[in-house]
Amino acid sequence: MKLIILEQYDQVSEWAAKYVRNKILLFNPGPERYFTLGLPTGGTPLGCYKKLIEFYKNGDVSFQYVKTFNMDEYVGLPRDHPESYHSFMWNNFFKYIDIRAENVHILDGNAADLPSECQAFEKKIQDAGGIELFVGGIGPDGHIAFNEPGSSLVSRTRVKTLAMDTIQANARFFDGDLSKVPTMALTVGVGTVMEAKEVMILITGGHKAFALYKAIEEGVNHMWTVSAFQQHPQTLFVCDEDATLELRVKTVKYFKGMMHVHNKLVDPLPGSLKKN
């Protein structure tokens, strides 16, 4: 893995957004070949989305030939509910950029037949040629998407019941009322994300530090599902100083020492491939 350690949330957001931008530009998508991007929701990626919107407004990148696949969506929440992941993606990202609606894929938590909806989503990913880059976050319990502790590390897109940790973490979006938080969600599986060409996990804040420690310094374990990515050939963890608080000093020093190499992935804007 590459562990990118930056000072604070804003630097993490900027680094991650530049990485995504450069990846799209280098891929040089067009009407015959789309860049497929897996996307998360929540507080962690918000800053990254804001930066990507800025890059779009500056003319540095276009999302015209980008296909997106979101990780998850609540079951039973009306699509236009302000806390649905559809609303999140629209209000925080899609409405500001030039992505086409037909290239956006988000699981439908109100589908009549949920297992079929999950299978159809897997097929859409397959039909799109797989995912080039899957961006994700990590829960305080070490979950990726809604793959709660105990989820199979080879799982596929399916219906999941949310763990109490997750419900509590999400209550802040539902007026602090636990009874208002949905209890089930549709989510891509650990196996689904593992099939992406490249995975980038964003982790910020001291409350995520223990999960990061479990994910990268302990073994692969279905109780901390992000640990599965130890077995993925191209994984990046982008985090702030606070998120490293439970790691060994040796780990942190090693990766910090490599920042001058890692920064080459983001800093020169691939000039000749700038969107016209």
Binding site: D80, S87, W90, N91, F94, K95, R100, A101, E102, V104
Partner: protein, 405 residues
């Protein structure tokens, strides 16, 4: 590119680079319009996979709901209460002109007149949608003749009337000739027999306003209980506020307003008809009820100097219109956008509050706020574009530009 046509094939316009008045604040959001109504872009995106056919760059300006004037007596030399060959044409002429003031809907107002005038004029003034031809007519505001003698103001005394003994709206039907196309009636509730009139008018969906009256607070509260919901030009043509009987003014803070109901009050914020301190008292007492009205007379829109209008000779100096050769005010000539700006300066309220007093509040008063006076999804796209000083740049009705500076 348009939508997949699953809901509609009509073209979609996206107003970009603007600050829209929504949820009582100015938000940096785009505004989407289709079929003359404000469109929910999230539904468009997810349900219809659609986008805008064209984008309109607002240059960072404020985009607000078009103004609604519920008390306008005429303008540009046209007096709605003076019967002419073609009353409809007079209304249409003024309707077109007031687009320049950001007014997208209005209630042509008739002052106290003899039945013959009502019978001639009313059938010619119909409710109709606005457009390139002019602001929409929401319905007529009949100010009088069932008003108080002592508070007639400039209304002609000989045509004032009382309700008689029969009860109900029959005397109104006789005087007016009918109540079609009427959206508001101003009356004095202390007149005997007013209760059943107020009740029946309210049941018919006509807004009842209290004005030109010497009613005390109890009489006013009784009228509100029967359905009255507006006060015509607060402070003017009513008993002044008294601390032991606040009169109609006391409705602003009355605790006898039935639950779920609101009392609104018209204010002429031209800096002349109401002292700014009085304006502030009213605003601070009941900000949600303030409705800006022009109560403009036919001299509005005319250049400074002397004008002979019907039987009167009027002299215009700045924002003052005097009976020629005197210092007697003959009516207001401030335009709606001037009133909005003056109200904001005099009260120190925020720009959203000032704009809502001219759009949302009159719409709520008339019970049409699901359709007008707001930029919520589904509302009519009647809009005004303005700079930070609330100087108008353009007016739109149903999403179509009807005036540009």
């Amino acid at each position: 590119m348009p939508s997949n046509g699953s809901v509609s094939d009509a073209p979609i316009t996206q107003f970009i680079n603007c600050r829209i008045l929504k949820e009582h604040t100015l938000q940096r959001e785009d505004l989407w319009v289709r079929d003359g109504r404000i469109l929910d872009p999230e539904k468009l995106f997810f349900d219809e996979q659609g986008y805008a056919d064209r984008r309109l760059d607002c240059g960072g300006a404020i985009l607000a709901p078009g103004f609604i004037d519920v008390q306008l007596n005429g303008g540009y030399g046209v007096d709605f209460s003076t019967p002419s060959e073609d009353p409809g044409a007079g209304v249409a002429f003024v309707a077109k002109k007031i687009l320049e003031h950001g007014v997208t809907s209005f209630c042509p107002t008739l002052v106290t007149s003899p039945p013959s005038v009502y019978h001639k004029v009313l059938p010619e003034v119909k409710v109709q949608s606005g457009g390139v031809h002019g602001a929409g007519v929401l319905g007529v505001h009949l100010e009088g003749p069932f008003i108080s003698l002592e508070k007639k103001g400039a209304h002609p005394e000989q045509f004032l009337r009382t309700f008689g003994g029969s009860g109900g709206v029959r005397p109104l039907l006789e005087v007016y000739g009918g109540l079609d196309n009427v959206s508001m009636v101003t009356l004095a509730p202390e007149l005997a027999g007013s209760q059943s009139v107020v009740e029946e008018l309210s049941q018919r969906g006509i807004t009842v306003s209290l004005g030109h009256s010497v009613a005390n607070l109890s009489q006013a509260e009784e009228a509100v209980r029967q359905g009255a919901s507006f006060i015509t030009h607060l402070f003017n043509a009513m008993l002044p506020f008294h601390h032991r009987d606040p009169g109609i003014v006391g409705l602003l803070t009355s605790d006898r307003i039935p639950a779920g109901r609101s009392v609104f009050y018209g204010m002429i914020a031209d800096g002349i008809h109401t002292n700014p301190a009085a304006l502030r008292i009213a605003h601070r007492a009941h900000p949600a009820g303030l409705v800006l009205v022009t109560d403009a007379i036919m001299a509005m829109g005319l250049p400074p100097g002397r004008h002979t209008l019907g039987q009167q000779v009027i002299e215009i100096q700045g924002l003052h219109a005097y009976v020629a050769g005197t210092t007697t005010l003959s009516g207001s000539i401030a335009t709606m956008d001037m009133c909005v700006r003056h109200f904001q300066q005099a009260s120190g309220c925020s720009v959203p509050e000032a704009l809502e007093a001219a759009s949302l509040h009159p719409a709520q008063l008339l019970g049409i706020s699901h359709q007008k006076g707001s930029l919520e999804y589904g509302c009519d796209a009647d809009l005004v574009l303005m700079d930070d000083q609330m100087v108008l740049e353009a007016t739109f009705i149903s999403g179509v530009e009807v005036w540009r500076k």
